[in-house]
Symmetry: C2
Subunit: 565 residues, 2 copies
């Protein structure tokens, strides 16, 4: 492609309202333009990268045995009422009426459409398992679109749906998809982690993993081991159980008043924060439950919900706490707690002896608490948020934190949608069963942005080879110099004939402008045809390392192969 | 792909509400399913064909120098107000509001979006001409969606927009696109005609052509020469001028009353219909104009408007005709017509002598009319609709009619949108000018349906080689027979290794079902592995000719190459 008439307009200044680096660079390098808040036009450079990502996704999905189809963006509201999500989805679901006033939605996802199609198309175990996918435009009316493609309102996704005869089959398909996802993100050149995640409102009792691209702009925190593959969303990351049972001999239970907090009391007594037991009162499915954590730990609402396998988790109000315990939350504890309140303690409480906890009166605390002697704890569980430095739950290394961008997620849905739509099949014994389902998403446009977040320097983008819009960028420094223009044109034709995608800067611009734009565009290899053109010498620059090498043109093809191109 | 778990559900019966053959076959062969009226899901077979069409379109567009980009489907209403089309477009424009009650449309076309982007990205003649295209989902809220993909509400289009420094440059780009379109439809295996068409409301004073796939279901009539490339939409097809000037000596002008029509009078006098002159009163830009055609011809409203280069064409009401001529339209004519009425005659009037025309009184007619002697005709022009059997306007052969499906259209838009959006550039002399624009559309999903309309028989679809979802369909007749299953599996692996896309029918179904489904699916070549598998013999069937040949498996690759596969 000749740059003279190539539509890749660059910007020198950082656009004022672009916070994320990827957003800034994608505007500056002419990959895209904003058409409305959270809605973008992909210009030729952006389109080329997107298509390379899509080709990798298609390749891996087909290899994994998935079949491509294409569902519509406009979906009848009735389908969403059948699944119950028309109301549940809230204002993020874009809605419209047609000329006959029939109601439609712009699909944020396609469980409803595909389940209704499969219900009518699949009736026997002989056709299972079946995995279908599409690459398609999705809509989510974000309250505050931001960060460019990272949180847009119209975006491109690959979504796959698998239909299975059994939970074992679902597990197998899930593993296959998991592996395909690892391949996809590896081939895209991303530094990523597959992390255990929470299913949230999408439902499904099976597992779910998020694929997170590591990046400072990330909206999620990942807990990962510094010595193994272990990684999880920090909200649900497992905490390794404590190594020991209580050993110290407990002193006699004591009771004191006049302290504003357990921390204050501990500090006065020279005890660490870890000697304090915090009480947290929740209503789980409308019944009160007292959860206990150590003073130096934070409770995870997601773990609390998961312990009872429910989304109905609410913290008690001040009035409710006051009513049940006769004191504010800072002063409640498991000793002499109301008998109708269940008590679940974090596993880190188990080794504690001589602990401090609330006295269930204002400004009152117990000291020398031994939970075996002084409390009625119903169960111990993993309730707290993991901390940096904690041992990794797989026993290898310690936990570190990193910020990440979610670029993909795999879910075991189970029968949530197949039951809502009556999607059944006859098994080997002629018995009717609900289909087991999995769903598997990749944010294509998000992946593009995540790559830019990871691959850039202060001068611009540094494309990984597999995604670069062009393989080679040939710069003709002075197009009025006959040696230069002849050599550059010959290279342009010759390198294309060898199968390279080549961008030729044949513009009537100063050399400085050409160099700046080339760095901003970020093709992996820049070939500059300048003053030594007469001697048949060009300069080859590796965008990533910055290394420049003078090469005789006749050696250029061999040189490019040598450096892996 | 193994058919056992391939999602291509077939239907034995013709779906009740599918009128068009393509609609019936695409449902029956499992290419698509309806998700809502005029809104379809493309199943794997349909998706594969669609992608093959898209690959051909991309290839030809890139070859023609166009650059791919991707614009959003959701567009801000403000852009459509800037062009004036927000109101003009009527109820076919789908509209929606976001959560902040900002107004959007679902784009039926993208002139507004692209012109606003180019306005900000192109400022100099040096970057011109530039041609950008996308393959994208479009929306048109048809009052009555029908014929499957032929008149849908969500559909896939390729739309290109060229930006030019001059009308000459636009003309050149138009020619390049025209040629690319011919290549595309030829490669898709379509029997089509490029026909001159009317620009209608999309505007632009330059030319426009429609690409019409010939098919009985067609909603447009094409006039084409039986001996040349000439073809045009019947509404605007040129009529060859009559060969001769008047020759007969006119008799004396006569006047008679008591006839209900010119035809009645002509019949009584033994004169042909072609001796009668009909008057048609129109208001053009609010001024009355009397148009004349021969009694055996029909007037074309499009030609009437084009003659005056206006869309403001209205037939006079009875009251207006009565007021101006003192008689109803059946009795009006050019002799003694009101002097403030312009008279434009169809060119076929020119050779007439001794004609009959209205007497401008009720039931009155003139006879022996010679327009040179008796009328004040302001101009002669081509005003009538062409008829079958007319000589072709290019002098080669005669006009025939055919029905056609519009699969593409190319337009010279001129400056209509660039002026509305202030999209200007500086020319070689530093002078600011409005960009000249062209736009070029192809209905991708329509092309798919048009191919099915043309390529089928009573048993199913007959895919042209370039678009077939799979190249080869291997049928394993009895999967319990070891010879058959081994041979079929070997063929399946071996043929894929040779680069063929292969569908293997490995289902546990009767042979009759497999043959019926294979004919319905319509892959170009069917390879049946049956009773002679033990001898290493398979049966190769050409879906189009129906020809069957027994082939030794070791000769199969050579045989396939021989027959062009």
């Amino acid at each position: 492609m000749r740059q003279q008439t190539f539509f890749g307009p660059t910007l020198r200044d950082i656009p004022a309202d672009a916070e994320a680096t990827s957003h800034q660079l994608m505007l500056r390098a002419g990959l895209m333009r904003q058409t409305a808040a959270g809605i973008y036009t992909y210009l030729p450079l952006g389109t080329r990268v997107m298509q390379k990502i899509q080709a990798i996704v298609r390749d891996e999905m087909n290899r994994a045995g998935a079949q491509e189809l294409l569902m519509p963006a406009v979906q009848p509201a009735e389908l969403w009422e059948e699944s119950g999500r028309f109301d549940d989805y809230g204002p993020e679901l874009m809605r419209l009426n047609d000329r006959h006033d029939r109601r439609f939605v712009l699909g944020p996802t396609h469980e409803e459409v595909i389940t209704s199609i499969i219900r009518d198309g699949i009736h026997s175990y002989k056709r299972l398992p079946m995995n279908v996918y599409q690459i398609q435009t999705k809509y989510r009316d974000e309250r505050r679109p931001r960060f460019g493609l990272l949180r847009g309102r119209e975006f491109i996704m690959k979504d796959a749906y698998s239909f299975e005869p059994s939970e074992e089959a679902l597990h197998k398909s899930y593993e296959i998809m998991f592996e395909a996802y690892r391949n996809i993100f590896r081939r895209c050149g991303l530094d990523f982690r597959a992390v255990k995640a929470d299913a949230g409102a999408i439902g499904g009792t099976g597992g779910t993993h998020e694929f997170m691209a590591l990046a400072d702009i990330g909206e999620d925190t990942i807990a990962y081991s510094d010595q193994s593959d272990y990684a999880a969303n920090v909200e649900i990351a497992d905490v390794a159980p404590p190594a020991t049972e209580p050993e110290d001999t407990p002193a006699e239970l004591d009771f004191e008043k006049g302290w504003t907090s357990g921390e204050e009391l501990a500090s006065k007594r020279g005890l660490p924060l870890s000697a304090v037991i915090h009480g947290h009162l929740y209503y789980i499915n409308k019944a009160p439950v007292l959860f206990l954590t150590r003073g130096d730990h934070k409770i995870s609402d997601v773990k609390v919900g998961n312990y009872f396998d429910t989304l109905q988790v609410e913290e008690a109000s001040s009035a409710q706490t006051e009513h049940l315990f006769g004191a504010a939350e800072s002063f409640i504890g498991p000793v002499q707690a109301p008998t109708d309140v269940k008590i679940i303690a974090d596993q880190a409480i188990r080794p504690l002896t001589n602990a401090i906890c609330g006295g269930n009166q204002t400004e009152a605390f117990y000291l020398n608490v031994d939970h075996r002697r002084d409390c009625e704890i119903d169960a111990f569980a993993d309730l707290r948020i993991v901390q940096e430095g904690d041992p990794s739950p797989d026993g290898k290394g310690n936990i570190q934190f990193a910020e990440g961008i979610e670029v993909g997620q795999v879910f075991k849905l189970g029968t949530k949608y197949s039951e809502a739509f009556g999607a059944t099949f006859l098994d080997e014994n002629g018995k009717s069963k609900s289909l087991q389902m999995g769903c598997y998403g990749i944010g294509i446009s998000r992946t593009l942005a995540a790559v830019v977040e990871q691959c850039h320097d202060e001068s611009g983008i540094i494309w990984p080879k597999a995604l670069a819009p062009f393989d080679l960028h040939v710069l003709m420094i002075n197009q009025k110099d006959e040696d230069q223009s002849t050599l550059a044109e010959n290279l342009y034709e010759g390198l294309q004939a060898e199968g390279y995608d080549v961008l030729l800067d044949d513009r009537d611009e100063r050399a400085g402008v050409k160099f700046k734009d080339a760095d901003l565009y970020g093709m992996p290899i820049r070939i500059t045809v300048g003053k030594k053109a007469g001697e048949g010498i060009v300069e080859v620059k590796d965008r990533k390392s910055g290394e420049m090498t003078e090469v005789q043109v006749e050696n250029l093809p061999a040189y490019l192969k040598d450096i892996g191109f």
